[in-house]
Symmetry: C2
Subunit: 446 residues, 2 copies
C-alpha cells in the first residue's frame, strides 16, 4: 500500500517535466498562432513603464500627487488588443469622467444647500438613483454595444466625486489633476496603440469575413473530391490523403460560431480612424450582412455534411459528376470572391459554370427513368442548389461592399453585378422547385 | 427656401414628442422583457449607497482614509448581473490584489537593495516584464475564460504598489487598508447579489438550453402544420394564423447564435455556490454538449426551412402525411424532453412514434413506383430523418445530464435510456442509407 502511493508519487513527480514541456509547447503555439499577441504584450509593458514615470519621478510627482496613480490605472484597464478597442475605452473613459465629474460637483452644491443634516441624505439619494438609472441603461442594446464602459466609469466617477467632495476642499483642483492624469494615460495608450505595430479591428474583421468565405469554398471544392472518392474507385482513397481532406472539410465549422467575434470587431472598427485602404466611412455594417449569409451557407453545408458523408452513394456516375462539378465550381467562385475581397478589389464571381452544372443536373434528373438510383444523392443535389443561391447572395453582398467602400477593379454595371446568376426557373419541373434564388425572408443580417 | 427650412425645423420639433414616446416604449420593453434588470439596477444603487457610507462618515473615514474610495470602485466594477459574474470578479479581484501586493512589496525590497540609482531601473524593468508576461497569459484560453479580470487587477496592483511604494513609507499599512476596503466592497456586492433576488447564471443556463430545445420542438410541430397547409386545402390557411405560425417557425433562428451567451453563463455558473436543485458539482459542461447538439439540429432545420417553404409540394398525400407525422412526433418528443428538463426531472423521450413514422416513410418510398412524384419532399424527408437522429442524441445527452445531476424521476436502465431509438437499419435499401443514428464526428461539443 505504501509502496503503491510512493510509486504513484514518483510517477507524478516524473510527469512534471513532461507536463511543463506540454505547457511551454502550448504557450509557444499561442504566440506562433498570432505573433501580434507577443507584440501587444510588449506594448502594454512599454505603456505602463512610461506612465509609471509620471508617478515615480519627483518633479512630476509634485505636479500630480496621488492622482498620478490614475494614469497607471487608466493604462491597465484601457489598453486593448485592437486600436478600436483602445480608442473606444479611452474615449469612453475620458468623456464619462468629465461628465460625471461636472455632475458630481453639481450634486455637491445641491447637497450643501440642504444643511448639515440633509446633506448625507440628499447625496445618498442622488448616488442611489444615478447608479440605478445608469445601470439600467447598460441593458439598452445600443448603449451596451458602444458605451458600456463609459456608463461604468460615469457611475464610478460620480460616486467618488459626490462622496469624496464632502472631505476634500479642493475638489476642482483634484478634478483637474485626475482628468489630466487620465488624459496622459489614455493618450499614451492611444499613441502606442496606433503607431507601434497597430492591430486594426477593421482589418481583422475584413480578413475574418473573407476567410470565412474561403473556408466554405475549401469545403465545396473538397466535397467534390470526396464524392468522387466515395462513388468512384476505392483505391484512390489512401488514409493520409483522407485525413488532410477531413480537416479541410471541418474548417467550415468555425464559421458557424463566428458571430460574436465578428460583432465585437465591427463595434471596435467603428471607433477607428481611417487606415490603409479603410476610409473614414467604411461600410462596417455590410460585413455583418456578408457574415450572416456566410453563416447560413455554412449551415446548409453542415446538413450536407451530416447527410452525404454518412451515406455510401451508389449513384450513376453521370449524376455524381454533375453534382461534383456543381460543388467544385461554386467552391471556385467563392474562392475567387474571397481572394478579391482580401486584395480589396471588386469581385468578379464566376458562378455561371456552377449554374450550368445545376442546369445539366436538372436535365439528368428529368431524363432519368429510374429515380430510385439517384435518390441518395438527390438531397446533396438539392442542398447544393441552395448553396449556389447563397453563393450568389454572398457575391452580391461583397459587390455592394466593394461599391460602398470603393474597392478598385473592373467597373461593373448594376445589372451585371447582381445578375451573375439568374434565378432558377421554377414551376415547370417538379424536381426544380427548390429555387436557387435566395428567399428574402431567410436572410439573417444581424 | 427659408420657409422650407422653417417647416423642416417645425416638423422636426413636432417629431420630438413621438420620438420621446418611442424611446420610453423601448425602455419599458427592456424592463418588461426581464424585470430582473430593474431589480439589478436597484441592487447596484443599494450596494453603492451602502459602501459610500464607509467613505462618507467621519469615524469610518478616520479608519480607512483615502483607501475608502477603493470600496466604491470595487462595487462599481465588480457588481454583475448574475451571482456567478459577481463572485467571479470579486474573488478574482481579492486574490489578485493580495498576490500582486505581496509581489509588489518584494519588488520594492529588491529594488531598494540596488541603490538609489539602480532602484528606478530595476523597478521599471520589473513592471515592464511583469506587465508584458501577464498580458500574454490573458491570451491563454483557460486563463481568459476564468481569470481574465484577475490578471488585469494583478498588473494594476503590482504596478501601483511597486511604483507608489517609493513614496509612501507605510506601504504595509496602506496595503492593509486597501485590502480591507476591497473586502468590504466585494463582500457587500456578494451578499446583496446572493441574498437579494439572486440571478443565478446556472439557472439561466439551464433554462436557456431547455428553451432552445423547446424552440426546435415548436418549429418541428409547426412545420407539420405548414406542410399540411401547403400540400392540402388552401382554405384552412388564413392570414393571421400564418403570421403567428411564421413567428413560431422563426424562433429557432436565435438558437443558431446562442453559443456565446451559453459559454459565458457556463463560466459564471462554475463560480456559483449550490442553490435550489443545483448542487455543488453540477455538470455544467454537459450543457454545452446539449447546446452544441441543439445548434447542429437548428442548422438542419435551417436548411429544411430554406428548402421546403420555398417549394410548393405537389406530393401524394400519403407521403406528405408520413413526413408530417415524422415532424410533429419528433417535435412532440423534443417538447417533452425540454419540459422534463425545465422541471428537473428525468426525461422520457417518446421518439418511438417518430421512428415508426420514419419507417413507414421508407416503405412508402420503396413501394412508390414513380419517385418523380415524391421527389420535392424527398429532401425534407431525408433532413427530418437526420433531425430525428439529433433528437435522439439530444435525448441521450439530457439523460446523461439528468443522471449526473441526479434529477428526480422514473429510474431508467442504461439500455432503456440510450436505446429509445435504435439506429436505423441501413444497407438494404438505397433510400435508407441516410442514417438516423448521429455520426460521432459531427458532434460539436464546444
Amino acid at each position: 500500500m505504501e509502496m503503491n502511493s510512493q510509486s504513484q508519487e514518483k510517477s507524478y513527480m516524473a510527469s512534471i517535466p513532461s507536463k511543463l514541456h506540454e505547457f511551454i509547447k502550448k504557450i509557444k503555439k499561442i504566440g506562433e498562432e498570432d505573433p501580434r499577441r507577443i507584440i501587444h504584450s510588449t506594448k502594454v509593458g512599454l505603456a505602463l513603464t512610461l506612465v509609471s514615470f509620471f508617478y515615480y519621478f519627483r518633479p512630476l510627482y509634485n505636479g500630480f500627487g496621488q492622482a498620478g496613480m490614475w494614469a497607471v490605472l487608466t493604462v491597465v484597464v484601457v489598453f486593448e488588443f485592437t486600436v478600436g478597442g483602445t480608442l473606444s475605452k479611452s474615449i469612453n473613459r475620458g468623456c464619462a469622467t468629465l461628465l460625471a465629474g461636472a455632475l458630481g460637483v453639481g450634486a455637491e452644491y445641491l447637497a450643501g444647500a440642504c444643511g448639515e443634516k440633509g446633506e448625507p441624505v440628499v447625496l445618498g439619494l442622488l448616488v442611489f438613483s444615478l447608479a440605478a438609472v445608469s445601470t439600467f441603461t447598460r441593458f439598452i442594446p445600443n448603449v451596451k454595444r458602444k458605451y458600456d464602459y463609459g456608463v461604468l466609469i460615469f457611475i464610478l466617477t460620480f460616486s467618488l466625486v459626490a462622496v469624496s467632495g464632502y472631505r476634500v476642499e479642493q475638489i476642482l483642483e483634484l478634478a483637474h489633476q485626475r482628468l489630466s492624469t487620465i488624459l496622459i494615460g489614455g493618450a499614451t495608450c492611444m499613441i502606442i496603440s496606433i503607431f507601434v505595430c497597430p492591430v486594426w479591428a477593421g482589418r481583422d474583421l475584413h480578413f475574418l469575413v473573407a476567410g470565412n468565405i474561403e473556408k466554405l469554398a475549401a469545403f465545396l471544392q473538397g466535397f467534390g473530391g470526396e464524392l468522387l472518392a466515395c462513388g468512384g474507385d476505392e483505391s484512390s482513397k489512401d488514409s493520409s490523403g483522407t485525413n488532410v481532406e477531413k480537416s479541410l472539410l471541418k474548417s467550415y465549422k468555425s464559421v458557424l460560431n463566428s458571430k460574436a467575434t465578428e460583432e465585437s470587431l465591427a463595434n471596435f472598427a467603428w471607433w477607428e480612424p481611417p487606415h490603409g485602404k479603410f476610409k473614414l466611412k467604411h461600410p462596417w455594417k455590410q460585413y455583418s450582412k456578408i457574415g450572416g449569409l456566410t453563416r447560413e451557407c455554412a449551415c446548409l453545408i453542415e446538413s450536407l455534411n451530416t447527410n452525404t458523408i454518412t451515406s455510401k452513394p451508389l449513384a450513376p456516375s453521370e449524376f455524381t459528376a454533375q453534382i461534383r462539378q456543381m460543388s467544385t465550381e461554386s467552391g471556385k467562385a467563392l474562392a475567387e470572391i474571397a481572394a478579391a475581397m482580401k486584395k480589396m478589389r471588386r469581385p468578379e464571381a464566376h458562378l455561371q459554370s456552377a449554374k450550368a452544372a445545376a442546369d445539366r443536373l436538372r436535365s439528368v434528373l428529368q431524363n432519368s427513368s429510374d429515380l430510385q438510383e439517384v435518390a441518395p444523392l438527390l438531397v446533396a443535389a438539392s442542398v447544393l442548389i441552395d448553396v449556389i443561391g447563397f453563393a450568389d447572395a454572398i457575391a452580391a453582398a461583397v459587390g455592394d461592399l466593394a461599391r460602398e467602400a470603393g474597392f478598385e477593379g473592373v467597373k461593373t454595371t448594376e445589372a451585371h453585378r447582381r445578375g451573375i446568376v439568374s434565378p432558377v426557373d421554377d414551376g415547370e419541373h417538379v424536381v426544380v422547385e427548390i429555387q436557387a434564388e435566395l428567399p428574402e425572408k431567410n436572410i439573417i443580417t444581424t
